[in-house]
C-alpha cells in the first residue's frame, strides 16, 4: 500500500490537469465528479496507508522518486516520507478536502468559473499533499509556496473585483516574507548539516547540545516561515482579508489545512525546537499573544466570516502555544479537531451566506434557525466543539495544551484560559445573532431563505459528527482513556518527549479542566444574557463606539499601521531611488560625454586659422622642447 503513496498527490494533479485543460468543455457534473473523485481516491489510499502504518512496526518509510537538485555536496532527492505525522495529515487533508469538494460542487454550482474553481482546489490539494509528504525541507517548501500560490489564485478567484485581488496579493506577499525566512532556514540547515533531508538532519541534530546558537537561528528562521503561513503576529493580517475568496476556500485553505502547515513544519522539526529552548519561548509567547489578540478582535466583528477568520487566527495561536511548550501531540491533536470544527463552521457560514444570497453581516441576520435547521444544528455543534464544551473534540485538544501550559508556566495558562473565555463569548455571540432572535434582513432576503442542497448539507453533517467524536482519539489517561494519538505519534516525537517529560498529578488536571469548564460556562451565560435575553445588537455602521470597542472593532488599526510604516515608505523610497539616485548615476555617465563636448568646444578655438598664431605656438613649443636639453 505504501508503495502507492506517490499516487496520493498524483490523483489531484491529474484532476487538476484534466479540469484545467478541458474544463471548459466538460459538464459541471463531470467536473465535480473528477474533482471530488480524485481527492476521494487519494483519501482511500491515505486511509489504507494509515491503517497499514498502525499495523506495521516500521513507522517511517521513505519513497524515492528521482534526484531533483544536485550541486556539489548538495543533493536533494524528490522523495516522500510516510510516517505517523504525515499520514495523519494526509488523512485530514484528503478527508476534509473531499468533503469540501463535495460541498463546493453545490456551493459554486451557479458560478461561471466552476471548472476553474475545481482545478484550483485540486491543485491546492496536490501541493498540500506535497508539503506533508516531502521527505526533506525543500519539497516541503515546494508545497509551502505551492499552496501559497493556490490561495492567491483562490482568494482572487473573482478576479474582476479589485479588493479581492488586493487581498490575494497581500496574502501572497505576506507569505513570501515568511517564505524568505523559511528559505534562509533551509539554507542554514544545509550549511550546518550538509543535507536537508529530515532523517539526516534530525539524526545529526540529536547529538547537538541544547541551546546551540545555530539551532536557535535555524528554528527562528523556520518559525518566521510558520508565522507567515499560519498567520501569527505580526504576519496575520492577510488571513482575515483572505475571506474574500469563496467560502469553501476559506474552510479548506484558510481554516482546515494550509494555515496549519506551520504547525506541521514545527512538529516535523520538533527535535530542532526542543533543542533550542529560546525559540520555544518565542513560539509560545507569540502563540499566546496571537491567540488573545485575535480573540479580542473577534469580539467586535460583524462579518460572519471575519469572526471565524479571527477565531482561526486565535486557534492557531493556541496550537503554537502548544508547540512552544512542547505539547507537540497536543498541537497536532488540536490541528485535527480544529480542522473538523472550523471547516464545519465555515461551511455552515457558507450555507448561511448561500441562503442569505451573499449577505455576510450578522446584524442583518437572526432567527435563521427555523429556515436552515440542518445548518443550525451543525453550526451549534461546531460552536460547542470550538469553545471546548466537555466531551466535544475541542475540549480534549485544548485541554491538553492548557494542561501543558500550566505545567510550563502559570501565566501562559492563565492567558490561554482568558482567550478561551473570549472564544466562547464571540462564538456564541455569532451563533445567537445568526440563528436566534428574529430575522433582521430585507424582505426579499427573507422570502428567499432556504436550506442548502444535499451536496452541501451532507458534508456539514459528516463534519459535525467528526467534530463531536473527533476528540475520542485523544482522551487523556486521567479520564480513563488511552491517548491513542499520542501512542500513534510517539515515534515522531520520541526524541523530544524524553527531553520534556510531562507529568501532571491527576487532581491538578481535574482542577484545570474544572476551571476551564466553569470559565467557558460563565462566558457562555454572559453571551446569552447579552444577546438573547437583552436582545442587544451590535452597533450599526458609523455609530459612535466607546474607544476600547472602537479600537477592537477597527482591529487595532494594524492594517493602517502596516500601510503607513511599510508600504507607503517603500513606495516613496523606490520613487526616490528611481527619480533621484538613478538619474544621478546616469548623470555621471552622461556627464562624461557632455564634458568631452565642452572641452572640445574649447579646444577647437585654439585653431584660430591665423598663421602668425600657429607659428607662434610652434616656436613656443620648440622653445619648450629645446629647454629640456638645458635641464
Amino acid at each position: 500500500m505504501i508503495k502507492l503513496v506517490c499516487l496520493i498527490p498524483l490523483f489531484p494533479l491529474i484532476g487538476f490537469v484534466i479540469i484545467g485543460l478541458f474544463g471548459k468543455n466538460l459538464s459541471k457534473g463531470l467536473v465535480s465528479i473528477i474533482g471530488c473523485g480524485s481527492v476521494l481516491s487519494a483519501f482511500a489510499i491515505a486511509l489504507g496507508i494509515f491503517l497499514e502504518l498502525i499495523g506495521q512496526a516500521e513507522k517511517s518509510v521513505t519513497i524515492n522518486l528521482f534526484s531533483w537538485i544536485t550541486a556539489g555536496q548538495l543533493s536533494i532527492p524528490f522523495s516522500f516520507l510516510i510516517d505517523p505525522l504525515s499520514s495523519l495529515f494526509l488523512l485530514i487533508i484528503t478527508g476534509v478536502g473531499f468533503l469540501i469538494h463535495v460541498y463546493s460542487s453545490g456551493y459554486m454550482s451557479h458560478d461561471e468559473g466552476f471548472s476553474r474553481f475545481f482545478a484550483y482546489l485540486n491543485l491546492f490539494i496536490f501541493f498540500m499533499l506535497l508539503l506533508v509528504l516531502g521527505s526533506n525541507y525543500l519539497i516541503m517548501f515546494v508545497g509551502w509556496e505551492g499552496v501559497g500560490l493556490c490561495s492567491y489564485l483562490l482568494i482572487g478567484f473573482w478576479f474582476k473585483n479589485t479588493a479581492y485581488n488586493n487581498a490575494a496579493k497581500k496574502a501572497f506577499v505576506m507569505n513570501r516574507i515568511g517564505d524568505l525566512g523559511f528559505l534562509l532556514g533551509i539554507i542554514l540547515i544545509f550549511v550546518t548539516f550538509g543535507s536537508i533531508t529530515y532523517h539526516d538532519v534530525f539524526e545529526q541534530a540529536k547529538n547537538m547540545a541544547s541551546g546551540n546558537p545555530v539551532l536557535t537561528s535555524i528554528t527562528l528562521l523556520l518559525f518566521i516561515g510558520a508565522m507567515g503561513k499560519s498567520a501569527q503576529l505580526p504576519l496575520y493580517t492577510w488571513l482575515p482579508d483572505a475571506m474574500a475568496g469563496p467560502t469553501p476556500v476559506s474552510a479548506l485553505i484558510h481554516a482546515a489545512t494550509m494555515v496549519t502547515a506551520g504547525i506541521y513544519m514545527i512538529a516535523r522539526s520538533n527535535i530542532l525546537y526542543t533543542l533550542s529552548p529560546f525559540t520555544m519561548e518565542v513560539v509560545a509567547i507569540i502563540g499566546v499573544c496571537t491567540a488573545l489578540f485575535a480573540a479580542t478582535i473577534g469580539l467586535a466583528q460583524n462579518d460572519i466570516k471575519k469572526v471565524l477568520a479571527y477565531s482561526t487566527v486565535s486557534q492557531l495561536g493556541y496550537m503554537f502555544l502548544g508547540l512552544g511548550i512542547g505539547a507537540y501531540t497536543g498541537a497536532v491533536f488540536h490541528v485535527m479537531t480544529h480542522a473538523f470544527f472550523k471547516a464545519l463552521l465555515f461551511l455552515g457560514a457558507g450555507s448561511v451566506i448561500h441562503a442569505m444570497s451573499g449577505e455576510q453581516d450578522i446584524r442583518s441576520m437572526g432567527g435563521l434557525k427555523k429556515h436552515l435547521p440542518i445548518t443550525h444544528i451543525t453550526f451549534l455543534l461546531g460552536t460547542l466543539a470550538i469553545v471546548g464544551f466537555p466531551g466535544f473534540s475541542g475540549f480534549f485538544s485544548k485541554d491538553e495544551i492548557l494542561a501543558h501550559a500550566w505545567e510550563h508556566n502559570k501565566l501562559l495558562w492563565f492567558l490561554g484560559i482568558l482567550g478561551a473565555a473570549m472564544t466562547t463569548f464571540y462564538m456564541f455571540r455569532l451563533y445567537f445573532l445568526t440563528f436566534k432572535g428574529n430575522f433582521r434582513g430585507t424582505h426579499d432576503q427573507e422570502h428567499h431563505l432556504h436550506e442548502s442542497p444535499m451536496s452541501m448539507t451532507i458534508p456539514l453533517v459528516v463534519l459535525a459528527i467528526l467534530s463531536v467524536v473527533g476528540g475520542l482519539v485523544g482522551i487523556p489517561e486521567v479520564l480513563g482513556g488511552k491517548h491513542f494519538l499520542e501512542e500513534f505519534l510517539k515515534p515522531v516525537f520520541e526524541d523530544s518527549s524524553f527531553r520534556l517529560a510531562h507529568h501532571l498529578a491527576p487532581e491538578t488536571e481535574y482542577m484545570l479542566m474544572a476551571v476551564a469548564i466553569t470559565v467557558m460556562a460563565v462566558s457562555l451565560y454572559y453571551a446569552y444574557t447579552v444577546y438573547v435575553k437583552n436582545k442587544t445588537l451590535p452597533a450599526a455602521e458609523g455609530e459612535e463606539l466607546q474607544p476600547l470597542h472602537q479600537l477592537v472593532y477597527k482591529k487595532y488599526w494594524v492594517d493602517e499601521l502596516y500601510e503607513n510604516v511599510i508600504t507607503k515608505p517603500l513606495n516613496v523610497i523606490s520613487e526616490g531611488l528611481y527619480k533621484v539616485v538613478d538619474n544621478q548615476v546616469d548623470g555621471i555617465v552622461n556627464g562624461v560625454g557632455i564634458m568631452v563636448k565642452r572641452v572640445s568646444a574649447g579646444i577647437r578655438l585654439v585653431q584660430t586659422g591665423n598663421i602668425g598664431f600657429y607659428v607662434f605656438v610652434m616656436v613656443i613649443s620648440i622653445v619648450l622642447i629645446l629647454f629640456t636639453r638645458l635641464l
Binding site: G612, F616, V619, I620, I622, V623, L626, F627, R629, L630
Partner: protein, 166 residues
C-alpha cells in the same frame, strides 16, 4: 688678424642687415637689406675658403631669388602704405618668443668644442675641383633627384601662375 676683424665686421653687418630686413617698414627696403645680408654671408664664405660657393651664392640668391622677390613686390605694388602691421603686443610677444628661442638654442649648442675634426685641415676643400668630385661621385643620386624637384617646382609654378581658362 685681419680675418678676425673681418669676421667681426661681417658678422656685425650681417646681423644688422638681417634685423633691418625684419624691421624696415618698406618691403622694398627689406629686400635690399636681405641682398646686403646675403653679400655679407658671401663674405663669410670667402673667409672660409669656400670661394666657389660664395660665387654661386651671390648668383643664385642675390642674382635670381632676390630679383624674383623684387619683381613680385613691384608687381603687387607693395609699399610702406599698403604694408600691414601687427599690433604692438603681438610684436612684443614675437620678440620675446624669438628671444627665448635664441636663448635655448645657444644654451643647447654650447659645448661644440668637443667636436674634434678627424682629418687634417685642408684649405682646398672649397675649391671647385673637390666640390665637383664630391658632387658627381658621392652625391650623384641627390643631384639627379634634385632635377625632379626642380622640374616639379617649375611645372607647379607654371600651372599655378597661368590664368585658368574659364
Amino acid at each position: 688678424m685681419i680675418t678676425t676683424y673681418l669676421f667681426y665686421l661681417l658678422s656685425f653687418l650681417a646681423i644688422m642687415f638681417a634685423l633691418m630686413v625684419v624691421l624696415s617698414k618698406n618691403p622694398v627696403h627689406s629686400v635690399l637689406y636681405l641682398v646686403l645680408t646675403f653679400f655679407t654671408i658671401a663674405g663669410h664664405y670667402v673667409l672660409l675658403n669656400a670661394q666657389f660657393l660664395a660665387a654661386v651664392h651671390i648668383i643664385v640668391y642675390a642674382g635670381a631669388i632676390m630679383v624674383l622677390f623684387l619683381f613680385v613686390i613691384m608687381l603687387l605694388n607693395l609699399n610702406k602704405e599698403t604694408e600691414p602691421h601687427k599690433s604692438i603686443w603681438l610684436k612684443v610677444s614675437a620678440t620675446i618668443a624669438s628671444g627665448l628661442l635664441l636663448v635655448v638654442l645657444v644654451g643647447s649648442l654650447k659645448g661644440a668644442e668637443t667636436i674634434q675634426s678627424t682629418n687634417v685641415f685642408d684649405p682646398n676643400i672649397g675649391l671647385i675641383q673637390n666640390l665637383g668630385k664630391t658632387l658627381f661621385k658621392d652625391f650623384l643620386l641627390p643631384f639627379e633627384v634634385s632635377s625632379i624637384l626642380l622640374l616639379a617646382a617649375m611645372v607647379g609654378a607654371v600651372m599655378l601662375g597661368k590664368k585658368s581658362i574659364k
